[in-house]
């Protein structure tokens, strides 16, 4: 019984993770019109209600950069510590527009489906 409960919790966690994964890419791209370094982006997302684990956010930023959706450069800030600043690339802007359009149409459909079933 306990084992079944555990596997159900795991399944829920996995499904929630999958649901958030795609949305997180959109959230990150949307907040990088101005350049940000890793921690400032995490703070910014948190202030807007999206708490993201560092171990997830930072590798994601690098992955998006490798895919050409973000661009980055190193800069030495006041306390002489170098930081990597990220900003959305022109290609990232195009993809973000497509993602937002798809997201809006998808939420409308899903909302209608969920409401009609309740």
């Amino acid at each position: 019984m306990v084992e079944k409960e555990n596997s159900s919790t795991d399944l829920t966690d996995n499904l929630l993770q999958e649901l958030r994964r795609g949305a997180l890419v959109m959230a990150v791209l949307s907040q990088l019109k101005e350049e940000q370094y890793g921690y400032s982006l995490k703070q910014r997302l948190g202030e807007r209600g999206l708490e993201v684990n560092e171990g997830t956010l930072y590798p994601l930023m690098r992955r998006l950069e490798n895919q050409g959706l973000l661009q980055s450069h190193w800069e030495v800030v006041d306390d002489a510590r170098p930081r990597r600043y990220y900003q959305i690339s022109p290609e990232g802007e195009n993809i973000l527009t497509t993602l937002i359009t798809e997201w809006q149409s998808l939420t409308e459909v899903i909302e209608a489906l969920v409401v009609s079933n309740h």
Binding site: Y39, N53, G55, R62
Partner: protein, 322 residues
């Protein structure tokens, strides 16, 4: 207080990343961890909490286990064999190879062998290669199954248990001492008791000890002694100093060069042993060993001339004391 936990964490993540991205990710992680720790220290001080090692542990826990973080940076396929099981698997493979190839050597040293030496060596090598492949497959399958079982146990990650950063200059004491003992025994045998180098065989219903070395083998002794004494001296100095210095690394390169000369001389020598099949087999072994030493020399030279790794400062203490 262990403020180098962050350095050990960054090192642990880097160890699991491909080399081409390692330095860059480590540099970024260093900067990101510093930002997180700074924010954590500020929040702690605001509520009157002491800024101590616990804050570093909290930050590292939030980032996640090094293995998981590295996998997010560079998704890699699950290894066939769990890294924790690799040392014991390597030891079993080594013992296995020692027995298979030791037996091949022993069988070719039998005075009862008759026939063409080349054919006898070919058959012995084929048997040894077949046994090697079969045993490696079996060992591989066993450890693959064990790895799947081990992988199902998840242990909670503890930042305080991060392994220390091993310095590449720290010598492997047990390997060096093993080498010293081995070389000392071989030198004593070759110089003072050459007739003891051999093995017992059942000849005409009676066990008899058969010495392997031909009397002409003694012409190789000066080079073998030179290599042995240089290795003993080098290992002694490294053990005494407790670390490898750039000069000692160059000396090691030179000693390996002497090893290559010794192997080449043994390879082109007419007669190492009066047993023809064993003579051919040993030459084949020396050829393989010479190839390995040449590759090793290349690797050593590359490591000696390439840019040394930058030493990263420990910054955990600085941030905590701000």
């Amino acid at each position: 207080m262990n403020t180098n936990l962050i350095g050990r964490y960054i090192h642990a993540v880097g160890q699991q990343l491909p080399e081409k991205m390692r330095e860059d990710v480590q540099m970024e992680l260093r900067s990101l961890l510093a930002d997180s720790l700074e924010a954590r220290v500020a929040s702690a001080k605001a509520v009157g909490r002491v800024a101590d090692e616990d804050l570093i542990v909290e930050v590292l826990r939030d980032f996640g286990a090094p293995k998981e973080v590295a996998a997010r940076y560079a998704p890699i396929q699950k290894p066939l064999i769990e890294p924790a099981l690799t040392p014991i698997m390597n030891l079993i493979i080594l013992l296995n190879l020692f027995f298979i190839w030791g037996y091949a050597t022993y069988s070719l040293g039998s005075p009862a062998l008759e026939g063409d030496a080349t054919l006898l060596v070919r058959d012995a090598v084929l048997n040894a290669v077949t046994s090697t492949i079969a045993s490696l497959l079996i060992i591989g399958i066993v450890f693959f199954v064990m790895s799947r079982v081990v992988a199902t146990y998840t242990i909670e990650w503890n930042p305080r248990a991060l392994p220390p950063i091993e310095s590449p200059d720290r010598p492997n004491h047990s390997a060096l001492i093993g080498q010293v003992i081995g070389i000392f025994i071989v030198l004593i045998l070759l110089n003072f008791f050459p007739n003891w180098v051999g093995a017992p065989y059942l000849i005409e219903g009676r066990w008899q000890f058969v010495p392997y070395l031909a009397p002409t083998f003694s012409v190789h002794l000066p080079w073998l002694n030179l290599f042995g004494i240089l290795t003993l001296a080098l290992n002694g100095i490294v053990l005494r100093k407790g670390r490898w210095t750039p000069t000692l690394r160059w000396v090691e390169f030179g000693v390996s060069g002497v090893a290559a000369v010794v192997l080449y001389r043994l390879l082109v020598a007419d007669l190492l042993t009066h047993l023809p099949a064993l003579n051919e087999f040993l030459k084949g072994m020396f050829l393989v060993m010479l190839g390995c030493v040449i590759v090793e020399l290349g690797v050593m030279f590359y490591r000696l001339v390439k840019r040394p790794n930058k030493v990263q400062p420990v910054f955990g203490a600085t941030i905590l004391s701000k």
